[in-house]
Structures are given as C-alpha cells and as structure tokens.
C-alpha cells in the first residue's frame, strides 16, 4: 500500500520499487512485517491543481510494537486506517484505532485487497462500524495490487486531513519520534517539526537534558535520506547533529533552537515499559564488550528496549533485558546475531513480580533468582493482561481451552460477525510470554488475532522452581511458575535437558525442585565407551587433532559444577512444544 502511494506521487519510479520499499531491514522483508515506523515525504499534485507535501509514516501492526504507532501518531495530523477486506478487523486494528482516536487524528478508512476472491466488502464494513464506530459510507475501496482507489486515498488526504498548524509564539519545536546510530555520522534523529524551522546553520538544544549540539545536516526521506536546506514547520525529516552518545538522544524529546528557545516542550508520549525480561549472555565471555555495544546501539533505536548488567553463575557476565513482548525479544536477539555477529544465549523469559513480605515490605524482581526466602514472603503478585482475542466460531472451544490452560478467565464474549467472536479475557502475562501467540495462531489456522493491555497485579500461588544439574542449581533455568503447573513444566524442562547434555563418565541427575522438594527427575546415563580403538602411525596425529577439536568444542559449553551444558540446551529449553 505504502509502495503504491510512493509510485502514484512519483516519489519513486515503478522500476525502483522493490517489494515493500519501506521495510528495509532484512528481517522485515523476510518476515513480511513492519517492525520500525518508516517516515517518507512526497509531493502530490491534486486534482484541484494544487501541490501538496505529504509526510507518511508507515507503522507496524503487531501488538508488541504498539509504541511505535503511538510515537508516530503523535507526529501526525491524520491516519489512514487500512483494513484487509478478506481478513476483516483484527484485534490490533481495534487497538490502533483507539490510539489514533485518543490523539484526535482524522481517520480515513480504507478497505484494501478488494481484488481478492474472498474479499467481503459489506461484511467488513459492518465490522468496522460495529466495532470501531467509524462510518463507512465514505470508506475508500482499494486494491494496492492493481492500483485501484489509491488516487482516491491521496485526494481524501487533501480534502480531509487538516494542514499542520503552527504557533509562532512558542519558539522552534520539533518532536523526536525515532533515531538510530550511524557509525560515521553519529546519532540520526527522526523529527516532526511543529513550530519554527531548523537548518544546518543552527545550534539545537535537547529540552530534556539542556545539552546543545551543532546541526550538521537536515533532510527528508523521499524515501531514502535526502539532504535539504531547511526543515520547516509541518515537515517530517531527520537531523544529524554532532551527537556521539546514543544516550543523549531520547525518543519523545523536544528539539529546540538555541537562538529561538521553546517556551515549553511538546507533549511527548507515554514512556513505554518493557513487560518481558530475559537475560542475554555472550556465548564467548570475551564478547561481553561487543554485546554491550550492540545493546547500546539497539536501545537507541528502540525506546522500549532496556538492558542492565547482570551476572549468572552458569552463564557468566551478561545483561538483563526488557522487551515489550515475545516478538520484540526475538527481533532484538536476531538483530544482535545478524548485525553484530554475536553468539548469544538467552535465559527463560519472565515478567516483573511484586513480592509482599510478611514484614510489610514490597520487593520488585525481574529475575527469579532474586526471589526472597519463601518463609519471609506473604504473597507474590504477577502482572495480568486484559486480552482481546478475535477468533473464528469454529475454533472457539479450543481457544477457550487454551485460555483456561494458561490460567486465563474469559469475562466477555461478543459477536464480530456471523463467523467470528471477540473474547475479552484476563490472563497472567507470564502465561503468554512463551508461545501463546503461536498457539493461538495454530489453533485458528492463522485467523485469530490478539491484542492486549496491561491490567495490573494480582496475587497467585506462585513458586520459584529451580533446575538442578548434578546437584547444582542452574540459575539461568530458574523460573517462577504457578504451583499447580510446576510439575508439568519441571518435567518438560528436565526431559529436554537430558537430550541436550552430553553423556559423561558418570550418570547426571537433572532435577526440578521447589525449595528442597524435588518434583521431577531425569537421568543422563553415564558414557561407557569413549575410546580410540586403533592408534598406530598415522592415527596418532589424526586422533590427537580430533581430541583437540572436541576439547575446543567443550570450551564453548557452559560448565555447571562438573557438567558441561551446550549452548543449544539453553536455547531449546526456551522453545516449548
């Protein structure tokens, strides 16, 4: 859709259009999703003869990246709501529309993919009206594939979206809605200028820190970065100043000019808080600094991602990282591997628990190993979500089972249309962090969708489960689980570990335990044969080299007590089945 608009406005020639121009991260193209919001500026000559400059920000749809949407919407005057005419309204559609409405944006409803044989235009229009209360009389019918209707969208923007307003009495103000670190140019900030103008002759001040920087270059995205003389009020573009430290540039900050200081900053946006936590460790301890550097750079691009140094007995020195959700976590890990060529191990993902002690104190932990002595604990509270799930009627039974199995309760059921239901449920975040979304998709053959919002803390019968290998607790595997589910989860982890731990000369017990109470146990049998049979002339160096290589391979494993645990074990434990 965005590609088609670029083509219509002649921002790009047809031959320049690769599939999904705006999704330029390899990961995005591979997965066919948008992770980062992409800004682009274009010129459009409308039917009324006037020329307009549009600034478009293509945003992600996945629930994990809602914060990207929030930030983008803060920079905009209007939003195009694109609904798939075949898929209909999805749970995240509802969420994103709510965000736009909260910002008082003009919403232009568009039905896309009307060319598909299974498109259901009247049905989907009714869904939008019923669920989102958006009148669909003026909805635009589009096929991004054939180009039908795309011009109508551009005309509707001209007619409906108000031009940017500016207040000359406020001083120069621009909102930073994204940024990234370029090894050669330092921090590149994506901004929307609300008032005044900024050029490379100016000195800017970041309002949250008061630090000043000299502007080196300003420009716009058409769609790749193009240098401009000046960025004016209403325009979206980038600023490169001599900002060398990632930490100096905060997303949501207001940029002002030293010679035209703003009276007050723009309303930023809610700071997003990570919900899911996991330890990330370098496989090779000497990569620690490299990992730190990578995390620092990634966190610059990603306001929602946090990290703090921690250490583990099993894994050495690493970082506890916070993510918005599982997809977010996966993407960060994948980017560390690809863009920073790091071999990393990540620990079992968890959430933030609030622990109330018998002495009235409250302790907040994001890592199970910090759980206080159980005898001092009055209760443990865990974060709950209010999740909205839209699910085909046929799969509703299985979906309800899944929700119940994950300790969720369904509070409300609503009909979306003849074929689908919308469930509102309350579910512990801990239960969905691993694979809930995958399960939901597989139950519904891809048709169900989910959105969630944070609902607060509730007390539950939660316990810390340790995994012991040969009697030694492996801190990286410790997790907090509901007591009723501990045995099942413990057995599952033990079974998987047994397959991954290489046999040694002695039998190795793998146990799951709550306190001193062992609740599951498996055994890795002893290795009985590990020998070179013939060892004559030429065998000697061949076998020695083989042993040397095996020895080196062993070094890559993590030593816990007397047992070596291969990296794969840490990774496989995370994948439940």
């Amino acid at each position: 859709m965005a590609d088609r608009i670029l083509e219509m406005t002649k921002t790009l020639e047809k031959r320049e259009l690769m599939e999904q121009v705006l999704d330029d991260m390899d990961l995005e193209r591979e997965r066919g999703i948008t992770i980062k919001a992409h800004p682009v500026s274009m010129l459009y000559e409308a039917k009324n003869g006037e020329k307009y400059q549009f600034n478009l920000i293509d945003t992600p749809g996945h629930v994990d990246f809602a914060y990207e949407v929030t930030r983008s919407l803060a920079s905009c005057e209007g939003a195009i709501l694109v609904v798939d005419a075949a898929q209909g309204v999805e749970a995240q559609t509802v969420a994103n529309v709510m965000l736009a409405m909260n910002q008082n944006l003009t919403i232009i409803p568009v039905l896309n993919k009307i060319d598909l044989p299974n498109a259901d235009v009247p049905g989907v229009c009714k869904q939008v009206e019923d669920l989102l209360a958006i009148p669909m009389e003026e909805a635009i019918m589009v096929s991004a594939k054939t180009g039908q209707g795309v011009e109508d969208v551009l005309e509707a923007i001209v007619k409906k979206v108000p031009p940017p307003t500016t207040d000359t009495t406020m001083g120069t103000r621009a909102l930073v809605f994204d940024s990234y670190y370029d090894a050669f140019r330092g921090v590149v900030s994506y901004v929307r200028v609300f008032d005044g103008e900024i050029s490379d002759k100016h000195k800017i001040r970041l309002m949250s820190t008061g630090k000043d920087f000299e502007v080196k270059e300003v420009g716009m995205f058409i769609p790749s970065m193009k240098k401009m003389k000046v960025l004016r009020a209403g325009e979206t573009g980038y600023i490169i100043a001599n900002i060398k430290e990632s930490a100096d540039m905060k997303i949501g900050d207001t940029v002002t000019r030293k010679d035209d200081l703003a009276k007050k900053p723009l309303p930023g946006f809610h700071e997003v808080h990570p919900m899911v936590f996991s330890g990330i460790y370098p496989v090779d301890g000497s990569d620690y600094e490299k990992l730190k550097h990578g995390l620092e750079k990634l966190s610059l691009n990603d306001a929602a991602f946090t990290y703090i140094a921690e250490s583990s007995v099993a894994l050495g020195f690493g970082f506890r990282c916070g993510f918005l959700g599982l997809l977010h976590m996966e993407i960060i890990q994948e980017r560390l591997r690809r863009e920073y060529e790091l071999d990393i191990i990540s620990t079992y993902p968890g959430v933030i628990y609030e622990i109330y002690l018998t002495n009235g104190e409250k302790v907040v932990i994001d890592n199970p190993i910090y759980l206080p002595d159980p005898t001092t604990i009055d209760r443990i509270e865990e974060p709950f979500l209010k999740a909205t799930i839209i699910c085909p009627n046929d799969d509703i039974g299985e979906m309800m089972n899944l929700i119940r199995d994950r300790r969720g309760e369904i509070s409300h059921t609503e009909t979306v249309d003849g074929n689908r239901l919308m469930l509102t449920c309350h579910i512990p975040l801990n239960e969905i962090v691993i694979d809930f979304y995958d399960k939901l998709k597989s139950i519904s053959h891809g048709y169900a969708s989910m959105d969630y919002e944070y609902e607060g803390y509730r007390a539950n019968d939660l316990v810390k489960m340790d995994i012991l290998v040969h009697g030694e607790p492996v801190d990286a595997f410790a997790c907090i689980v509901h007591r009723d589910k501990a045995v099942g989860i413990g057995r599952n982890i033990c079974k998987k570990l047994v397959d991954e731990i290489p046999r040694m000369q002695f039998a190795i017990a793998v146990q799951a335990a709550i306190g001193r109470n062992v609740i599951a146990r498996e055994t890795v049998p002893a290795f009985r044969k590990d020998v070179t049979s013939r060892c004559y002339g030429g065998d000697i160096s061949r076998k020695r080299k083989l042993l040397e290589n095996q020895k080196a391979g062993k070094k890559k494993m993590k030593m816990v007590g007397k047992v070596n645990i291969p990296q794969e074990a840490f990774m496989k434990i995370l994948k439940s089945d």
Binding site: D530, V531, R534, E548, A552
Partner: protein
C-alpha cells in the same frame, strides 16, 4: 628403537567399516583388460616403492618392520616375493628384532605361506575379525571362518612361531544372545588356535565409511556404550583365562607384545613408505599422499612426493606421547618420561584432574609409575581430551 612401516594399499574390495587408504582391485576371474590394469598397478607400486626405499637415510637401521595395508597378501605370489626382496636389498636389516607381515584369510595359499616362512618375516598378523560367518558377511569380509582357520593352520604348519589374530567387538547390534554366542565362538577359536598375539578392537564408525552411512540412514544400529562395556569385560576376562596378558587397551599376548606398535605408543621414531604412510622423525611428523597414482608418479619421476608435514612444539609432543603411552597397561614412568620429553606428567595433567581421576579409580599414581586403571580403558578418550594441547 626406530621402526619401518610399508603400506601395501591393495585389497580385493573395501570392507564396510574400513577407512584406510586402499585401492580395491576386484575379485574372481577378471576380464583380461582389468587383470592387466591390476598388474600394471602392482608393478608401478613396486617400482615406486623401490625408489622410496632407496631414498631412506643411509644410517636408518630399523629395529622393527611392519608390512601392512591394505592386504599385502593380495599381491600375486611373484609380486609379494619381489616386495620382500626389495626390503632385503634396500633396508639394513641388521638390527631388526621383529618383522611383521599382515595377511588376510582368503588371500593365502600353501605357496604363499611357504614364501613367507622362508623370508625374513618372523611374525604374521592375520586379519580374521570374527570366527562367526554371519558377522563376517555383515562386515563385508571376503572370507569365512573356515578359511580363517585354514590360513592360520597353514601359517603355523609352515613354521611361523609368532602369529597374531585381529578381531572386532562392539559390532552393530543384532541381539544380546547372538552377540554373546559370537563372543564365545571367538574365544573358543582362540583357545583352539592359540595365537601368540590378539588385537581385539572395538569397531569404530569412521566418517565416510559405508557403516557410518548405513547407521546415519537407520539401516544399522551402533551398539550402545553399555553393550560395548559388557563385551569388553568378557573379552578381557576370557583372554585372561586363556593365558593372555593385556598390554595395551586392545592388545593381548601370550608371549611377546608387538614391539613395532609399542614404539608408536612410546613416541618413538618410524619411517613410513607407500601411499598414505606416515613418518615420525626428529620431532616432525609427515605423511605421504594418500593417492597411489600421485605417489607412484612422483617416485617414478625420481623425486619424493609432496608430503604433509606437521611439527609440534616440545610441549605438544610431550602431551601427544602422554596420551599414546598411557594406552599401555604398564603405564609410564614419570621420571623416564620427563627425561625423554622435558615435561613431567604432573606439568601436563592439572593436579585437580589427577586427584579426581585417582579418586574415580581411573588412574593409578604411585609416584614411580602412572597408569590407567581398567575402569578408564573404554573411556580413555574422555581423559585424553583433557591432556591434549588446547587449540
């Protein structure tokens, strides 16, 4: 006590578990063209071997000789005779105490045995592998158990007083009963034949062999460690009852150990001739190309073939020797070891490992000798892995 190894790379066909460098030349009544090809190969090999033997250092006086393969006795009678003659002509045999020839059942007849008995060869190692016919077939051997017995008797009757038999255990699993009875069959055959020497190896699934491929595709199952351990115990006990002494992980003898092999394990020097043969001298190791044609061409053109060289630091050499010498059941004398390598074993094995291994009854450490204990024999690579140089 330097040794000389000669590699005769010919076999009738490749056994399913074998990863040695060999050239399978086919069997039975060959068409004339192939027969010619075979004899050309043999002739080329012998001419090149002559050149290589001539090129040995003039001061080289081996104390042990080993003609192995491949199957040296696959050579036609006159070619084998030629080979033995070449050795007598070009190698100074004045110091030789042991001269072994490897032979395979199915390739020996009275004439050949006669030739061997009347040569400088004083020890024959017979590659039997098993005295159980279904097992022999499963291994892809060219002979049956009866032929193995016949070959042995022929050699014995011709007056060879030092005979060795090679056997295999830890074979792909059939069933426990069957494996048990095969083991008994083998022990009974040994009792009957009474060879001076037995090498009873555990079968290894080497990369690139038919067995490994069959295993990976699920057509046969590698025995588990428990099974191998059980068989190994029975073999050690059975051979002890028959009067054999174990002197290395897989080597047993009633009379003399094989000095040629002991030299390998004690880090001694040796020269290797023939394609793929390795040499070890003056701290360096090198190997001939594992390619009959390349190797032959080079020598026939009057220059040595390009070898793959490896030189080890003194410490790496000491570590290597430690892991091979510990294969010997008598173990090592730390004082001698230190004098000969410059490193005391205690420098090479961290103290805590030494303590742990002693505690586990894997190692006996009595100051004046250091040796593996039987519980460690079948898992010795796990210990050796800790000793080899770190990459």
């Amino acid at each position: 006590m330097p040794g000389l190894y000669l590699h005769v790379p010919f076999c009738v066909r490749r056994c399913l578990y074998c990863d040695f460098y060999i050239v399978p030349l086919g069997e039975g009544t060959l068409p004339k063209r192939l027969r010619d090809f075979r004899s050309l190969k043999h002739r080329g090999f012998l001419r090149a071997l002559e050149a290589e033997l001539r090129a040995l250092p003039s001061a080289f006086r081996p104390e042990t000789l080993y003609v192995g393969g491949g199957t040296p006795t696959e050579l036609p009678l006159e070619d084998l005779q030629h080979l033995l003659q070449l050795i007598e002509d070009h190698v100074d045999l004045s110091k030789v105490r042991e001269f072994t020839l490897e032979a395979n059942p199915g390739t020996l007849d009275a004439d050949m045995v006669d030739l061997i008995a009347n040569s400088a060869v004083d020890r024959v190692s017979l590659g039997v592998q098993s005295f159980d016919n279904p097992t022999l077939e499963a291994l892809g051997r060219i002979h049956n158990a009866e032929e193995a017995r016949q070959s042995f008797h022929l050699l014995r009757e011709a007056g060879i007083r030092n005979l060795g038999v090679d056997l295999l255990f830890a074979l792909p699993q059939k069933n426990e009963k069957r494996d048990e009875s095969t083991l008994q069959t083998n022990l009974e055959a040994l009792a009957e034949l009474s060879p001076e020497h037995v090498s009873w190896y555990s079968l290894e699934f080497e990369p690139g062999t038919a067995f490994t491929e069959m295993r990976d595709k699920g057509f046969l199952q590698e025995p588990d460690g428990e099974q191998a351990d059980l068989e190994y115990r029975k073999i050690r006990n059975g051979l002890r009852e028959l009067g054999y002494t174990q002197y290395e992980l897989f080597s047993f003898t009633r009379k003399h150990p094989c000095d040629h092999n002991i030299n390998y394990w004690r880090g001694g020097e040796f020269m290797g001739c023939g394609p793929s043969a390795h040499s070890h001298s003056h701290g360096a190791r090198w190997s001939n190309p594992a390619d009959l044609t390349l190797w032959t061409q080079a020598w026939l053109h009057g220059h040595p073939p390009e070898t793959v060289k490896e030189s080890l630091s003194p410490e790496a050499k000491a570590r290597e020797r430690l892991i091979t010498e510990l294969r010997l059941t008598r173990g090592i004398s730390p004082a001698t070891f230190a004098a000969e390598t410059g490193f005391h074993p205690r420098e090479l094995i961290p103290a805590e490992l030494l303590a742990e291994w002693t505690r586990n009854n894997w190692l006996a450490d009595h100051g004046d000798h250091l040796k593996l204990r039987p519980p460690a024999y079948l898992i010795s690579d796990a210990l050796f892995r800790e000793i080899v140089p770190s990459l």
